[in-house]
Structures are given as structure tokens and as C-alpha cells.
Subunit: 340 residues, 6 copies
């Protein structure tokens, strides 16, 4: 399949156990996660050869991040070591009408303060066939945006497929800034992934007649969005995830893959949520895997949606799911009967 | 807004983790709670100036109760210290068709053995605008009932608004005794709060055509109950919570506020329960807060129901919810989408 | 009621907490369980005089198994001590579309390597009125099958009622082998218990028009299965549990008891699953209890289904439920309201 | 060996984990314990036939106490069920110069409010050869003292050996009251057990030249105490434990057994404390076991001290130690090398 | 006694449980602590009226810090709310020859980025009699140093006693910078507290013939240091803690208080360490308390050392010890016997 | 340094938390470990290029073992996947005079049932400079012994240095069998490691005048043992660890390295034990590292002993210690002072 490289930030994730609120927490479960790292781990769990690139401090908290990736077989040999802190995010799990809550504490992290010269992209891309990043990475700062641009250019020059998950984060940058920076990166992107809000937030492209908070999803609207994105940036493929949020516990989950003017809609899964952080990333990993396996578009989007459906049942950012499990669900067995 | 004082018992709550039954427990989560203390904490979390009055032993278990209130900013300076034990309640969380179970071990607690002279109500009510108690407090014993009566009289004489949640507990006293004692207290009460059973248990006032266990709620019936209560005791307002119990995990939750002959019904929320103990108390706190904020009746009941809806998603007796979160839900956003 | 003896394997059950996957586990909750042991504990919790017979090593892991039974009052005095290991099963709890997963590590356990002479059945059956085993026991190996046969013969000769839960385990033996061995044991059985797949797997008797994975249950089909089983083996009663699996969290649960040509169908319960392992065993215990109490067939199947419905809300293999709780649910109170 | 009966109170023990103080505890480890129950469990762990007699409520907290005993094979069939609460004690583990702390919450427990007619001693003592109680039992109240006296009389009349551990608890009764009540019970006692303070507190018999807090132990002084006790009450044997307390973590532990005018001193063990509650009880169990095994006096006291030395390494009140482990230590292997 | 104000940073403390290393941690115990906050809590636990001043974000992690102080009765009403992050420190507990390890992640915290105008010292010092800070506070940055200077000047002008614990932190500033800034603050200080290294690191004043790592303590040398400090800055009192480090588990702990040319040495305690972070702060709190109680110098230093000796047995930064416990130890009872 | 390969079994280690006994455990901490795996991880933590070779099942328990190695950077690419179970060992931590206890449940593991053809040694040894195994590996069965022999022969033929830790396990084979098999492997070994008992158990070579249980160590005796081993098998180096066991908590730890007729004795460390399992393996890793770094003999043994001294402070089998930490201790800083 060739090697896949993802680039971004991996953070220490600190979450009170169960449904405890932050102010009730006397301990935090400690794992690691971040959009692009999540994609790399999910791919490694599918058996793919995946590497994650970032910058991390030499101290033990940085080492913990490296180890968390290495245990799943992700290649961490290209991670630059230096800087003084690991970004942190605090996560409080919601229930019923109470939403999950994220507090970011990521300013000044090693990757956010990295320099252009830290990353030798030609060397990193040796033997690589796919490069993936998300809109969070360039949002970390101008230098990281420049590093990302250099990565994209190098990748393109070497014929590496590039995918990007728009992943707009309003607390990292404004819509205007995001639109401007992302527009400079999109020309290098082959596969663009977005959720129901991203295209609107970043590029001002709206799905008609959709009301996200009410959970109303409009199939035609999303096709238009994909079409508009394709026309503007020349993407080969556009994928959009479709989440209907009934409560913090119950969502519907589906997606559309738009290829060559045709929209392929997946099945829709009612998901009982264990942990929805990383749901979009697991979808991206499924898309990349399906594409590299040369699945047909319908099969690809079904694989990606089944993979991310299963992610919602897994604690932590990382999708701990095998190809066999995804295939079984995509093939129709959603009964959840005990496997002995 | 003025200061709010609540009076009653705060107990050590011992609950096996998760869904473990008592006989399986090798440890108990230890928090504190009790009807009136829960109201005080919820109000403090709304930013109100709330004080809780009780009697607690000087030893560390008593001190733990004080600390549990102080951490949320509840004024504990009027708590009398003495007596030998903190009341305890054991709580086993139910699931599906298995009901939650409470074992009380509260006899002989410091407050239940308190004396009239322990509480100097004129001093306690210095600068206070609202006094709240529940039917549990006078049920603790004749002396506590007498203390409560003195508190009510003192409050009334000073123009303090008085609210009471009927909260009938069959293991503390008989219906007859409750009816008699409560009838003596009601003339001092401005706002009466009840759930779907209390008016019937305490005062023999029934909602017609309702079957609580089957979860059937009858709007007209509850209006009649409120009307009957108002006529009998001259309440300014009557609030009734309406719970439909489908299982230990899933309830519907709504309420009615009856003011000047008009019944204001709230929206009805389907709640996925994390912990329903304290649900009624969080409703009471919402009512008091809304009233003190001079919200209109509809707005008040919506605020109170949204607050208590959210309480069902919180572990422990105390409602850990801010005004902003309540307002957001009351305003219609029940999607539970991640807040980043 | 007389004494009930069950015979089989009790294993150490190791399960990651909550919804963690095996590869995420840094600790395992350690309990004990196994089909026949589960039946014995459930019966003891109903107040019945139940004994469990097996072979267990003398070391502390074996002792832990004994203690786990003794704490509930199960008679363990007939357990043979010896052998070198306790069978283990690893259990990962599923959620949403992700199925629960069991990894067995039971080869070479003390009971699987037991000898015929280890068990003195005439002595074990002193004062006993009921003997129960499941299809797992003879599947442990030819010697254990021979021991089971001897137990059945001895029981029959003494007029002891014999029940068997078919409980086919495909990882222990093939359908062919199972069919052959079980056919040799069935003539001694009075009450046969099966789930929706067992009759088909073991004896090739199929329910028409049912699709298990899709959760479609066909009442007529199951009657036919019971009739066919009765005709083939001369059972006095046949009970079949009917599970509809919507997801790992939500199932419907019901059963049919077939007596003298008549099928008694129970109510159907929608269950929100805490732990479904042991669900079938708790049904068996309910059937045995109801029969020994001389309940009518409809009452018996309602009792057994209500008991096993409640089991789904309990952590661990053992059903920690009293007769009063079962009777209350069977009598119609499924509201899950707090019991104070 | 005959059957051993012990009589007293078993409490729910609630202890913060590790070295956390009460005010820091967000959960309590929940076990059960009490002087006489501890002796019964320790004896059962030695393989003896031991029964514990008390009164416990029918609810689940009471049932938990029963189960905690049953799991170790203690006969609980003579426990009377009734009353409303289980006594509780809160335990905070000390470290270094900070002492462990116990808060009792045992007033009003089922046993403390039991009646004379609850216990049918002739039936309880059927087939029994040894009866054991401690000074805590009669301290629970006049009725319990009367029950204890009746038990002693019945035992004596049947030729049952009686042992008593003086175990003075200053928070339960005064020295005067204790002296009076205990003096009435001592004539029935064959073996009297005391620690370095009890004889002084209860009977005003002092060891000369000993300063307990400084950890100074005077061998001659204790012989005098044993001699004085023997002369006053006609005991056949007197055992005194000798604890030198250097800190909450480190103690020396030894004992003396006084028989027929001769004092047998055990080896002295430096113990690194895991949990010292129940240390004295495990000594008593060792003495009873050694005596019933007809060990010589020196062997008996060495067995009892080795058993209780090992108890200090065990969490909880109950001594989880086998005869083999005791014998190995008493035989000289104190190296703590890994047993594979 | 008057009110005591302390000023500095309170951090979120994240520590793996037990003796786990950072790279092994799957969860972190979450408490709060920091030099001056620790002093405030310890004083509040002594019953003193203590306030803590800092700046904290409005979000829940900041609120958690406030709550952690409020629960012990520390006045938090003067805490400024704003900024974006709470400083964090990661703590790994050492054992035997393996040292404890601290990783600071405090750059950019709310207090480190506070402005001069955030703190209205005249208003903060209303009714205050003592002001305490440590060398960590001015080390947080030039602005915080300026704020500290303003606090000192305001305090001095109002006749408030000022104490400072030198507390040199090499990762926050250089020796040169520390010497310069601290020299500007010392003229306002009445009571100077230092450990065996601070005077040397900050002001280049060395104790002769001492080797800290070897644990060798030289009484004369420390007197000289105190004398030199007094002569240079005109302190009224100088206190120096004397720690002998044998291993991560075992230390000796003592101190000297130097007043008017006389050195008062305390008893020396061998401490078995549960958690030594905050040991110095608990000593400072003891000194302040003793001084405000007008204890004589010897009594004061004995109180302070006993208080901090006990701190070493407590988990977390905060000293959870009462005046009675300190007095009991200072009075000579170090046996650690169970307090019932 | 070249690559190091170790070969053996890695087991699932299940240990009750803290000092709980097996019969008290309601959960087990789950890690992985085994002599040769421990050496590989320790070397990887030193920064060396280490690979571990074994056979493990494909299921998740097997995958967990792989992941546990991968996280520390151990090369697992040569691990053969297959077989049905992972060996297990249960570990109960001792305290004071109570010894730690190990229950092995390793029969039938994937490696114990591996076949000769599973391992392609020429390919495994590509680019390798050191091969390490222990006496446990050939003890797993005749086939594993044959595999080990083939590995030794292949290594020798390629000029790879071979080290062996005798590690006699009496529950795996008899002294006679061990002596015979190990004698066949020794001719290929360059560096032989033994503890104070191994040479005696396996080869009948005794240290004179030593009594292991009493903790008496005889320097001359060990030199003789090393000399005798060298003469018999032609080892280049012999290392012997010297443990003095005072209790389960406190040991002394030292070692001797014998090279070319000279014995180099290390410093002796008093260790306060957190977890002593893997202590010998961490010594072996230190020896290999020191040798590959071309340290002088005295420096090598000091490095190895300091490394293993620190291991005793670490939970789990694996030594989580860096070269810097070892060097610091070996250099003399054993004070355990906090590293900030």
C-alpha cells in the first residue's frame, strides 16, 4: 500500500472518569490524541504502514506521547524532539442534554513553536505514498502553517497523494484567517474531508436547508457543497460526514463521498456514544485505507463510516478497530451479539 | 438578589461505583447530600449567595460535610457543631428494569438530636431574603419540627419569602403524622413544591386519572392538585414536577408552575439518567433562582426544569450546572454537541 | 424444596473496566463465573439450597473460586480439590455496534483434566432433588463427558429431576461431536433449555423464518423447535429464550416454556444492558426455582424471564437478585423508580 | 478440634485508600470487621470449624457482613437477623509520626439493641468446644453484657473452654464500669488475653517500669501482671501481647504466655505495618488454634505471635494467613524472599 | 490573630498514583498546590483566618483551584479571575534511591501574565496583619516581581508583618537574577525562611562544612548563615530547615530559628515519607502560626517542625493537620499508636 | 553498539493492587513480563537497539504483549504469531515477614508449544551483535530447549556474543534435567549470570559458608563459584548478584563480576522495595549495556548494580530507567532528593 505520513499535534488528553464534571475530578485519565495522530494510529491498527510527524519535548510527558504511538506500531522515528511542553486538552464527557466540553491548553507546545528547519520533508517523504493533515495544524501558528505548506509542496512534487480534513477550530483562528491560509493549501490537496460545518466556516460554502443543532440533514445540500468545493479547488474527491445529534448519548452517523460528480451516500448508523472525540479522524483513516486498497467509492465510504461508527464505542481518541471488525459491520452485522 | 438560607440534614452518601449492587461493593464513593443542602449548592453554583444551616459533629466526617459545601462557596458559618454522628445513606444505582435503591442510616444524627436553643434564627436570618426547607426536615423528629416551625415564624415576621418542597419520606413518618405537622407549617409558606405523589401522600389531594408507575401524566389532574393546595393553604405559587419513569435509565421530565390560577407547563425532556438523586432539589433551586431574578412564570418554570434536566446527567446529589448552561438548554439547544 | 446440584466449570473472569478494549486494559476486574456455577449462585440468592460440583486447584486462584461461591451460601463441600489451573475467560464489553468479545483460555483446567473417580455421585446426590448441567460441561473433553453421563445416570436412578441447558460453544467442539455426545445425555433430561441457536447447532433442528442477527423472532418457529425436541428426546418441558439484538446495548428479551404440547410465551422486556453474560443461566435458575415452587407454567416462565431480564442490569456472571425483586418485575413494575 | 464459637459485633469498616486522611477521601474501601469476627475468620483460615454469632439487619448492608464471613467458610447460620443498622467504623491509616485514627459510629447497631431472647445459647453451643468473646461485647450495653454473661454460664455448664480478650475501649465505657462488668464475667474464663494496657485500664493491675508510648517493654512487669490476674480470677492461662511502637509504620511485636506460674516469651518481630487493626485478634486466634492443637506453651505463643506478625502485613481486619505460612515464619524464615 | 494573606501561584498538580513513573501512568491524581497556597491552607487548617491572592482563569480548571482552597475555608474572594491557563506541575514520586521528579509546565499561566493593575493591594490588605510570599512568586516574571514589590511596600506602610520563604527554583531564573530581584524585596521582610541551599543559591551565603547530598548537617554553619542574612538585610527572624536525605523514603527533618542572635534548634524527626512536596511550606505556616500565637522561639520552632514533620505523612501539597495534632507531636508523642 | 536479541517467554502478569492477597483481589493490574523480555526493554530504555523473539497468539492478549514491548521501542518484528495462549503469572506482593508469592499458569503457552521451524535464526541474527537468553527458556520444554540450542549455535557461528542468566526455576524442571540441558548450552556462552543459588541448583557448585535465608553473604565463596564455573565451561565473564533479604520490604543488593581471574565487587545498596520482580533481569541488561559500551569491569558491575538497584523502586517487570539515572546513582548520589 505504500507508507502514509500524517503531520500535526499530539496532545495529552486529560479526562475525568465516567461522567464526572471537571470540578468534581480528583483524577484524570491520561491518554494522548490529536487529529493527525489519530489517523495514523487507526491506519496502523488496519495493518497499514503509518508514520506520524510532529515535534515533542524530550522529557517524560513528551516520551509518553511517543510511546502511545509506538505501542500501536506507528513509526515515530521522524518525530523531532525539542521544545518545552506538550499541548494538553481537558475533556469532560457529556450525557443526555449536557454537552461534552473541551478546554484547550495547547499554546506554546513544542509543535506550535517549531521552526521550518526542524522538518526535512524530502527525507520524511522517502518511500511515502500518502500525506495527510488537518486544518488544525496550520491553525497552530504562522510558522506551522508555513511548515505545512512546505510539506504539501514537497509531497506534490513527489507525486504523493495529499488529503486534508478541514477541521475548523474557532478557538485557534478566525474564519477569515482560516479561509485565507487554507485556500493556499487546498491546491495541493487531492482528497478533502469536511464535516457539516467546516466548508461553511472556512470557505463560506453552505449546505442549503440544514440546521445542524436540530440534527436535520439535507442530502442535496451536501452534494452542492461538495460540488462547490471541487469546483473551487480542483479536489479529486470530497468526503463529508453527516452527524445528527439527538443528545450527548445518541447520534446518527453517516457520510457522503463525492467522486467525479457523483455522490455516494453511506448507510446511516444510530450510535450509542462511548466517546465521540476522534470520530471524524477515524472516518478519514477509513477513507485513506479504502482508497489505498482501491475499494470502489461506495465500498470506500461504507468502510470509512463503519470504521468511525465503531470508533464511537471506544474510549480515547484512537480508533482501536481492526479491518475485520469494520468489514463485518459494513457487511451488515450491527447486532452487537457476543463474539465467543 | 439577597441571601438564601436552607435548613435541613446533610448526609454522607455512600454509593458503589457504576452499577454494582450493595453486596458486590468493595468500596463506596463518598459524597455528601440532602434535600436542602442540594438546593443551597445549586444556588451557589448559579452565583447566588446561599447559606446552609444544620448541625454536624466536630469530627472529620462532620468536617467533610462542611468542606463539601464550602468548596462551592456555600456559607457554612451558621452550621452548629456538635452531636456524635453524620446521617448516612447508601445508594445503589439502578439500570434498566432494576430500580435504584436507598438504605437510610440516619437515626441519631446530629441534626436529628439537635435542640431548639442550638439555632438562633434572628441572627441566622440577618440580611436574608429567602428561606427554604423540605418535608424531610420536620420528619426527622418532633424537636426538629419545632425548630423548623420557629424558623418559619421568624422568617415570616421578617418578611422573608418561604418555600417548601413537600418531599414525603414514608420511612421517616406516617402519612397521618406528616399531614398534621406539615399542615402547621404550610401557613408560612409562599411557594410550595411537590412531585406527583407528595400532595396525595401528605395532604390526601390526588391527581385524577394518573398512574405514576405506568408513567401516565395527566395535565388537568395536576392543575386541580395545585388549585386545591392553593385554596387550602393560601400559597402564592405551587410547582409540581412531572416525572414519567420508563426504566431506571430513561425518564421524561417536566413541571408545572401554578401562579394566580394559571398553570404554566414546561417543555418535556427525555432524560438519559446518570444520577437522578437530587433531581427535585435542583428543580427547587431553579425555581428560587428564577423567582429572585424576577423571571416571568413561564421562563421560571422553563429555567427550573432545564436545570433539573441537566442535574440528571451529573453524578452526586449536587447540581454542578451554571446559569449559562441552563439558559442554553432552556433556549432550545438539547443536541449535546461537543463544546470546544 | 430439596437440594439442587449443578456440575460444570467455574472460571476466573477477567474483564477490562467499563468499555475498554483488551489492548487498552491496564487492569482486569476479576470475578468468577461459568454456566452451572451461575445457576447455583442465582438459586442460592433465591434462598434455595444449592451446591456446585467441580474440580479446582488447591492454590489461591482455586480458593478464590470457592470463596466466590461460598459468600452467597452455595454449598462447596463437594468440590474436588486438585489439578493445576483454573480456566480463564477474558471478557471485553461491547457497546453500540461493537460486539462484546470473549477469549477463552480454559484448556487444561482442573475440571477438564479431572478423572472419573474424582466424583462419587451417589454421595454427592445424597438428599438432592434436582441436577442441572449445560452443554459446556461434556464439551470440556471425553472424560468430563463420561463423568456427566455417570452423573445423569445416577441422578435418574435416584429419581432426581435433571435439567440441561444446551449451550453450544463452537470453540469447544464441532456441531457433529456435540450432537453425538449430547444425544447420549438427553434421555436422562427432564427439562431442556435452549436459546434461539442451540437446537439448530446441536441437533439440526431449525426455527423456520427466523434471522437471528436481524433480531427477527418467529413465535411459531420456536414452538416447532420445542415440539421437535420433545418428540426426539421425550423431554417433559422445553424452554427457549428469545433474544432480539439491536445493538450491544439494547436487546429485547423473552422466552417460551413448552409443556405438554402447549407453548407459554412470556412478556417481552426491552433491556438496557449492563452485562449480558450469564443471562441464559439466570433464566435457567428461574425456571428451576419456579418449577420447584410448583408455579404454573405461565407463572414459571414469567418468573424466569423477569429474573434474567434483571440479570442484564448486573455486573458479573452471577445474578444478584432476590425473589421479591423478580416477583415485583414479573408483576408489572418495570418503571425503575427509586426504592427508598 | 471441635467447633469454636465467637460472639460480638461485626462492623462495616470504611477506610480511605492508602494514606489519605478522612477529609481527603472521595471513596472508602468497604470491608467488615470486629474483634470476635476477626478471630472466627482467622480460625477458619487455619482450617478450623468456626462460627460467629451476632445480630445483623436483614438489609443488604447486613447481608454484606454475612457474606464477608461466609466466603471464608465461617458458619453464619446462628446469626440472628433483625434490627436496623450495622455498626460502622471509619479508619484512617497513619504513617510516620501521624497516628492511625478510628471514628466509631456504632451506637444503635442491631447487636447493641439485641434482646436476651434473641440468642438460644444451648442450641448455639451444640457440638462446640470453645467459646471466645472480647471486652468490647459487654461494653456495647447492659443487655449485651447480660447476653454475654448468659453465654459464659451456658458454656461453662457444658464444659466449653472460654477465652476472653480484655480489649478495653474507652469510648464505649468508663474504666469503672468496665472493671465491674468484666469482673463478673472473668470467673467463667479459662484463657485471658490482654495487651500492655488492658489489665491496667480494666482491673487496675499495672506493669511496673513500663512506658507504653515510649515503646519500653519490661518483661518482669508483665509476668507480675499475669500472676496478679491469675490470682484474682483463677485463669488457667494468661497471654499478653507486647507492642513497641516506634512510628505508625514500624513496631516491634511479641507476646508472653503465662501458664502454671511460668512465663513463655516469644521471639520479637520488627514489623513493617501494612494494617495493624486486628493484630490482637489474630494473636487470639493463634492462641486458640495452638491450644486446640495441643501445642506446648512455647510453641503456642510462637505460633500466635507469628500469626499476628503476619497479620500486620495484610489489608483489612481479617487475617488471611494459612497454618503453613505461620509455621514457616515461626520456624525461622523471616526473609520475605519470593515464593515461586 | 488577625488575617493572613499569601500571594503566589497555585498550580494543578498531576501525579501518577503510588510509585508509578510518568511513562507508566494511565491516569493522574489531580490536586492543586503551590508554595503560598499551601501556607494559606495549612493556616486555615490551624483555624487561622487566611486568604490567598493570585490570578486564575474563569474556566473550570481555574474554578477547581478556587474550590480546592475554599473547601478548607481559605478566603478566595481576592483572587482575580482572568487569563487563559492554570500552571501545571507533574509529580512522580520517588522511592529508595530513585528521586522524586517534577516537570513544570507553568509558563503563560494566568498569574505569570497578570498585570500590575490586577491587584489593588490597599483593598486586599484591609484588616490584614501578616503577608507572606516566597521566592517563586517574583521568579514568575518581571511583572509579577513588580507586583510583589508593590505588595511588600503596601504591607510595610501599613505595619503588616512580612515573611518570605526564599525557595530558589533554578528552572525559573538564574542565581544572578534571583539575587538581584530578591535583594530588592528583602528590606521589607521581617521573617526570612530558607532551606539548606537557598541562602547559598540566592545570596551566595554558604554554610561551612556541609554536604547536602550526603545529608551531613552542620549546626554551626547554619547559625553563621542566619547571622549573615540578618546582618545583610536586617531580618527580625531567620528560620532554616535542615533536611538529611537518606533515600526518597527516609529523611531526617529539623530546623533552626534564629532570633536576636540566638539560634533555637528543634528536635530532629526521622520521617518515613508519604509525600514531601509542601514540607517547607507547612514549616512556614507553623512559624507564622506560632509567631501570631506569641509562642516563645523554642516553642515556635518546635511547633513548626512538628507540623512539617506530619506533613510528610500526608498526600498532596496541602498540610491537613490540626493544631492539636501538632501540639501532641511537639509534646513528645511520636509513637503513631492508633487513636480510637 | 550493534543490535541485541533476546529470546524467551513473555507472560501476562496479573497482580492484585498494593499489598492485597490473592483471595482479596477484586481486580488485577495487568502488565507483561518475562526474563528475556525484561532485558530487552531495559536495554531499549538505555537507548540500545534491542529485539525480542518469542511466539505469541494472534488474539488481543497476544497483541497486548507485543504492544507492551513496542511502546518502549523494542523491535517486535521477529516475533512469531500463532498458538493459542499467552502464559500467565499471578503475583502477590509481600510485605514485612510475608513473602511475595508467584503462581505460574504458563503451561501450553504459544512459545512452550512452538516448533523448531518457527524460528529462522540466520534471518533473526542479521545485523545482530549480542544474543541473550536465560535458563527459563530451555526449561519450557524439549522443543524450546532445542530451539535455544539452535539459536546458540547460529549465534556462535556468526561471532555473536552470547549471554545467559542461569535463572533456575524449580517448578519448571528438576535440578538434574536443568543441569543436563544447561550443560549442553553453556559451551556457547560468553557471559554467564547467576544469583546466589543458581550455580548450586543447576551445576552443583556451592558457595561455602553462605546461608541465603539468613542473608549472610560470603565474598570469598562467590569468587570460588565464579572460578569453578569459568573452569568448567570456559566463560569469558561470570557475574553473580548478591541479595541479602531482611524482609519483603528491605534487601541489600550488590554483585560481583569475575573477569580473567579477578573479582570486581560493586557497592552494596540498601533497597526499600517497590517491586523486586525483574531485579536480576535489569542487572543483566546493565551488564550487557556496560560491556557493549566497553566500560571497564568495575564500572560495568557498578552500572549494572545501580541499574538493578533502581529497578527495585519500579512497579512491573520492566526497568523504566535511563542511562543518566543509572550513572547518577553509580556516581554516588543516592539521596533521593526531589529532581525539579
Amino acid at each position: 500500500m505504500g507508507k502514509i505520513v500524517t503531520f500535526g499535534e499530539i496532545m495529552l488528553r486529560l479526562a475525568p472518569e465516567g461522567y464526572y464534571r471537571f470540578v468534581q475530578a480528583s483524577s484524570y485519565g491520561a491518554t494522548y490524541g490529536g487529529g493527525e495522530a489519530n489517523v495514523a494510529v487507526s491506519l496502523a491498527n488496519f495493518g497499514a504502514d503509518a508514520a506520524f510527524v510532529t515535534k515533542l519535548p524530550k522529557h517524560e510527558i513528551g516520551q509518553g506521547a511517543v510511546n502511545s504511538l509506538r505501542q500501536f506500531g506507528v513509526d515515530t522515528s521522524k518525530i523531532v524532539r525539542g521544545g518545552s511542553r506538550v499541548g494538553i486538552y481537558f475533556l469532560e464527557k457529556g450525557a443526555s442534554q449536557r454537552a461534552s466540553k473541551v478546554i484547550y491548553d495547547r499554546a506554546g507546545s513544542a509543535i506550535a513553536t517549531a521552526e521550518l528547519k526542524d522538518f526535512d520533508w524530502p527525507s520524511i517523504f522517502e518511500g511515502v505514498s500518502w500525506f495527510h493533515f488537518t486544518g488544525i495544524t496550520p491553525a497552530l501558528g504562522d510558522t506551522v502553517a508555513a511548515i505545512t505548506l512546505e510539506a504539501c509542496k514537497t509531497a506534490k512534487a513527489r507525486g504523493i497523494t495529499v488529503s486534508c480534513d478541514l477541521n475548523y477550530r474557532k478557538n485557534l483562528w478566525s474564519r477569515e484567517k482560516a479561509g485565507e491560509v487554507m485556500a493556499g493549501l487546498m491546491p495541493f490537496v487531492d482528497l478533502c474531508i469536511a464535516n457539516e460545518e467546516d466548508a461553511s466556516d472556512v470557505f463560506g460554502i453552505h449546505a442549503r436547508n440544514s440546521d445542524i443543532n436540530s440534527g436535520k440533514i439535507n442530502r442535496e445540500g451536501y452534494q452542492e457543497v461538495a460540488k462547490a468545493l471541487t469546483e473551487r479547488f480542483g479536489f479529486k474527491k470530497v468526503a463529508i460526514t453527516l452527524r445528527e445529534s439527538f443528545s450527548a448519548n445518541d447520534n446518527n452517523w453517516a457520510a457522503m463521498l463525492y467522486v467525479d460528480g457523483t455522490a455516494y451516500f453511506s448507510k446511516k448508523y444510530p450510535v450509542h456514544i462511548v466517546d465521540r472525540v476522534g470520530g471524524g479522524d477515524s472516518f478519514g483513516a477509513g477513507l485513506i485505507y479504502g482508497t489505498l486498497q482501491a475499494y470502489a467509492p461506495q465500498e470506500t465510504v461504507e468502510f470509512a463510516v463503519a470504521a468511525s461508527c465503531l470508533k464511537h464505542s471506544i474510549e480515547g481518541d484512537f480508533n482501536q478497530i481492526s479491518v475485520e471488525e469494520v468489514t463485518k459491520l459494513a457487511g451488515g452485522d450491527a447486532s452487537g451479539r457476543v463474539q465467543r
